[in-house]
Structures are given as structure tokens and as C-alpha cells.
């Protein structure tokens, strides 16, 4: 999923200060799962903002609404009945959702209330970690199911650097060395020999190197 974290309240307050009526929009997908921008977080942020402005003598009107999926025009359309009653939109979706709202409602200011962080997985209750950078040409089939692009600090494709110590990355003892994990997994699979195969210079065009990407499925596109 796409993970996110709420921005500091002061930053959000600075965005909405010029306005009296805010439409605060959550999303029921990834940001709900990572507890950053679902219905519950919309309610908490709404109360926090109203309280903060009340202290300054301002009665901020906040209309709360959580969409099924904010990156999907079909659901974003739902806001059309509420948009005129708001001076600005505050979105708690990932950057995709924020941009979809901005695209649909061109004359309405839209502000992000969360920082979109990474594509990751839940490691345990309350902990998420990066797993994928969407390079567009998945290597997991040859790296033991562990991605060196997302999980090695230097995205090295051919093994650990000289900074790998006790299974940890040179940048921090809190970061696992991806190549230690890959090696351990290749061993568990009896595929140690695969380590010696050199992965040649990667074609990054399928990733960010190729500019903004788009998928067009001829069989589905209208």
C-alpha cells in the first residue's frame, strides 16, 4: 500500500488560515489502513483545527467527508455537491488523491494534510516499512523476493557494499542490510549460486528515468 503520515498541525493551520469554510476529505483506502487519513483521522484533525482556531477567536467551519477512493474520478465526483460550500479543500489522501481533487475542482484551492511517504508493508502493529519503488521492471524473481532498489540505501544490484555490519546497513543500525536479507533468503532456497550472476546496468526507462509514466490498457480503455 501507499503509506503516509499526517503533517504537523502548524503546517496545516498555515494552509487553512486564510479560509473560513474547509472541506476536509479523507480516503478509505491505503491511508485508512496506515491510520493517516481515514474517517477516524479526518474526525481527529477536524476537531484539532477547530479548537486551534477557536483559541484565536475564529470559528472555522469544517465539513468532513471520506471518499471510498480519492484517486478515482468516479468517487471524487461525490464532492461536487459539497464543493461550493467550501473555500478550500484539505485532503488527507496520498498525493494521488490530492491531485485528483485538484484536477477535478480547478478553481478550488486544495492542500495536503499528509506527507505521502512510500510503498510499503506493515511489519507489525503500528510499523510500516518501504518495500517497493515502482521501478517498472521487477527484479524480485532473481533477488530472493527482497528488493535491493527499495531496501538497499545505495540501490546496489550486485551485492552488499563494504559497510554491511552484523546484518545492518552502514547508514544506521536500525536499517537492515538488504543484501544480507537477500543472501539469507537465497541460502534458504538453496540458490546461493544465483548471487554470482551479475545483474547488468539497469534500464531505468521503465522507472523514473523514462519521465512520468502511464499505463494504457487497450482492452479496457474507452
Amino acid at each position: 500500500m501507499i503509506t503516509a503520515e499526517r503533517k504537523p498541525l502548524e503546517e496545516i493551520i498555515a494552509y487553512v488560515r486564510p479560509f473560513d469554510r474547509i472541506l476536509l476529505v479523507g480516503c478509505n483506502e491505503c491511508v485508512t489502513v496506515c491510520a493517516a487519513g481515514g474517517r477516524k483521522e479526518v474526525g481527529i484533525l477536524s476537531s484539532a483545527l477547530q479548537m486551534a482556531f477557536l483559541k484565536q477567536g475564529k470559528n472555522l467551519q469544517v465539513k468532513e467527508h471520506t471518499l471510498e477512493r480519492q484517486c478515482d474520478p468516479e468517487y471524487v465526483e461525490e464532492l461536487s455537491s459539497m464543493i461550493d460550500g467550501a473555500d478550500a479543500v484539505l485532503s488527507m489522501a496520498c498525493g494521488c488523491g490530492v491531485q485528483e481533487v485538484a484536477r477535478r475542482y480547478r478553481d478550488k484551492p486544495v492542500f495536503p494534510a499528509v506527507n505521502t511517504t512510500f510503498m510499503g508493508a506493515s511489519e507489525r502493529q503500528g510499523v510500516w516499512a518501504e518495500r517497493c519503488q515502482g521501478c517498472g521492471d521487477c527484479l524480485l524473481g532473481i533477488t530472493g523476493g527482497i528488493c535491493p532498489i527499495a531496501r538497499c540505501s545505495k540501490q546496489l544490484l550486485n551485492g552488499p557494499c563494504g559497510g554491511s555490519t552484523h546484518g545492518k546497513c552502514e547508514i544506521s543500525p536500525d536499517v537492515d542490510c538488504a543484501w544480507q536479507l537477500i543472501w539469507d533468503r537465497l541460502k534458504a532456497l538453496g540458490l546461493e549460486n544465483r548471487y554470482e550472476e551479475i545483474i547488468p546496468a539497469k534500464d531505468w526507462r521503465t522507472g523514473r528515468g523514462g519521465g512520468p509514466r502511464k499505463i494504457i490498457r487497450e482492452d479496457l480503455a474507452e
Partner: protein, 309 residues
């Protein structure tokens, strides 16, 4: 053994001599006198001089410019190149730039993470990794081709090297990693600083068993310790460094003013012992900001005078 490049280092190794290399770190400024002064201290005692590439991610004078200064002084530079800061266009371009000044040794590295340096807020590049950079230089030299496939007019004549750290984890992968670098095109290897001689010898045995020492020249890396404090720092704070307790305590048990001398003793003793290790083709003496001691180390280790080739 025939040579493929005009590299003096390659000729020394091909002739069966033990090679001696050292390094000069470029300054954090534009004064060429700094690099020239360091070079003058070591020039008669080494066969070639590594010029580091923004080591520990601190912004410095570029390796290529400093290599050109050394070349103009008549020294033989080894251009260190990290894949952290430049994409494949810039790396290939700098290789051609170096070749334009007949710099004919290159050391391919990934580089320390930028979080250690003065630009921790920057991005790293790592378009290629060190293996792929080795492949790239070999392709440019041997096939006369750019990575993109086009022909190179006057291909670079570079003797190609890589680093190896016998002490990083996982240990069991370390010789496989050396094998991989050799397959990628490494012709010489300079190792991480060696303090744990037993572990290094174990690594060399594995490398010999795989026949790697017949395919690549391994230069054993050594850094003399200036003090017990430095030894503790290297042991505890530098990732991938293995400093045994005996080394730390030998320095710590020495009066402070004598510690530099003992640091040099430890270094010379290590060279003496490693000379007898089959497959060690030479020594890479990294006297960090202590270049004035290189001559003494080389002489005391019986590696002076340097052979003519």
C-alpha cells in the same frame, strides 16, 4: 604476463614485483599546492597513487582534477570513481576526460552513503553500481564501445581495479563478491584496511582455492594508527572495519607520545607477515593525513627502492 595498458602499476605487477600504492585525499578547497605537497612526500616510494573521490561523502576537489595535477608532476595516478554522485553519462565522460590526460588506472567504487558527509540532504545516484562500472570501463577499453553501443574514438587505456572488504558481513559472501568483481572485469583489488590478519589470511585462502589470485592482483590495504583513540574509533564507529582488541590494547598500553611510533610498528609488522601470504601482490598504504610516514613504512618494510619498469 603481457600488459594491456600503459599503466606502470600493471607493468610492475606483470613483472612479478610487489606493488606499492598509496593515496592522496584532495583538499576541501581549490589550492593545488595541497595535493602537490602530499604527492611530493610519497612520490619516490610508491608505484601509483590513488586519488579519492569525495571520500566519506565530504565535498572536495574532484578526483579527476587532482589526478591531472599528479600526472603533470610525473606521478602515476589511480582515479577513484564512486557511483554515488554521477550517472552513466557523467561516469563515461569522466573516464574519457581522464584518458585524455593519459591517466591509465581507475578504481571502481560505490562510495560511502551521503548521510556521512556535508550534503546529507542530497540525493545519491547509483545509476550503476561498482560491478556495472567495472563492466563499463572494460567495455570502453576492450570493445571500444560506450554502454549505449556506439564506438569510441581512441578508447581509454585503463587498468581496472576494485575494492574488496574481507571484513564486512556476511563473511561467507566476501569471496563470492570478489569472484563477482573479477568476473565483472577487475584486474587489481585494493582491500579495506587490514588489522585482523588471521581473518584476512582466511579470506585469501578462500580466494586462492577459487583460483581468484591467478586472475586478479590483490593489494593488501593498510592504514597506520596514530593513536589508541583512532584505533577505538575505527573499531567502533567505522562500518565494515575489523580491529581486534589486541591492536587497541597494544596502543592503549603505550604512553601517548609513543603511540604513533607503535602504530607504524604495527603497520610494518603486518606488511612483513602478509608478504609471505601467497596471492598478496602488493600493498596499498593509506596513511590518512599522515602521508609523511609512507616513506618510512615502505623503507622499513623492505619495499624500497621501487623497481624500474
Amino acid at each position: 604476463m603481457s600488459t594491456k595498458t600503459p599503466s606502470r602499476l600493471e607493468k610492475i605487477l606483470a613483472a612479478g614485483h610487489r606493488a606499492v600504492t598509496s593515496e592522496c585525499g584532495p583538499p576541501r578547497g581549490s589550492d593545488p599546492a595541497v595535493i602537490e605537497k602530499k604527492a611530493a612526500l610519497i612520490r619516490d616510494h610508491v608505484d601509483a597513487v590513488n586519488v579519492t573521490d569525495n571520500q566519506t561523502s565530504m565535498t572536495r576537489m574532484c578526483s579527476l582534477a587532482a589526478c591531472i595535477r599528479l600526472k603533470q608532476m610525473g606521478l602515476e595516478p589511480i582515479l577513484q570513481m564512486v557511483t554515488r554522485d554521477r550517472n552513466r553519462i557523467a561516469l563515461q565522460s569522466d573516464i574519457l576526460g581522464a584518458a585524455a590526460f593519459d591517466i591509465c588506472n581507475v578504481l571502481c567504487l560505490s562510495g560511502d552513503h551521503q548521510s556521512f558527509g556535508d550534503c546529507a540532504q542530497g540525493q545519491n545516484v547509483h545509476d550503476l553500481d561498482s560491478m556495472q562500472l567495472l563492466q563499463t570501463v572494460r567495455r570502453m577499453r576492450d570493445d571500444g564501445k560506450f554502454l549505449g553501443g556506439d564506438d569510441i574514438a581512441r578508447p581509454p587505456q585503463m587498468f581496472v581495479g576494485a575494492a574488496a572488504n574481507p571484513f564486512a558481513d556476511p563473511f561467507e559472501i566476501r569471496v563470492l563478491r570478489l569472484a563477482k568483481k573479477v568476473s565483472a572485469g577487475a584486474e587489481f583489488i585494493q582491500t579495506q584496511c587490514i588489522y585482523n590478519l588471521d581473518k584476512f589470511e582466511q579470506w585469501m585462502t578462500q580466494a586462492r582455492d577459487r583460483g581468484l589470485t591467478e586472475r586478479v592482483s590483490v593489494l593488501a590495504g593498510l592504514t597506520p594508527m596514530k593513536s589508541a583513540g583512532m584505533a577505538r574509533y575505527m573499531k567502533n564507529r567505522v562500518p565494515g572495519m575489523d580491529v581486534p582488541d589486541e591492536v587497541v590494547s597494544r596502543l592503549a598500553d603505550t604512553p601517548k607520545e609513543k603511540q604513533p611510533e607503535v602504530g607504524i610498528d604495527i603497520c610494518v609488522e603486518a606488511i612483513e607477515r602478509l608478504k609471505d601470504v601467497e596471492g598478496v601482490a602488493g600493498f596499498h598504504i593509506m596513511a590518512i593525513e599522515w602521508e609523511e610516514k609512507v616513506a618510512e613504512i615502505v623503507e622499513r618494510a623492505g619495499l624500497y627502492p621501487r623497481p624500474e619498469v
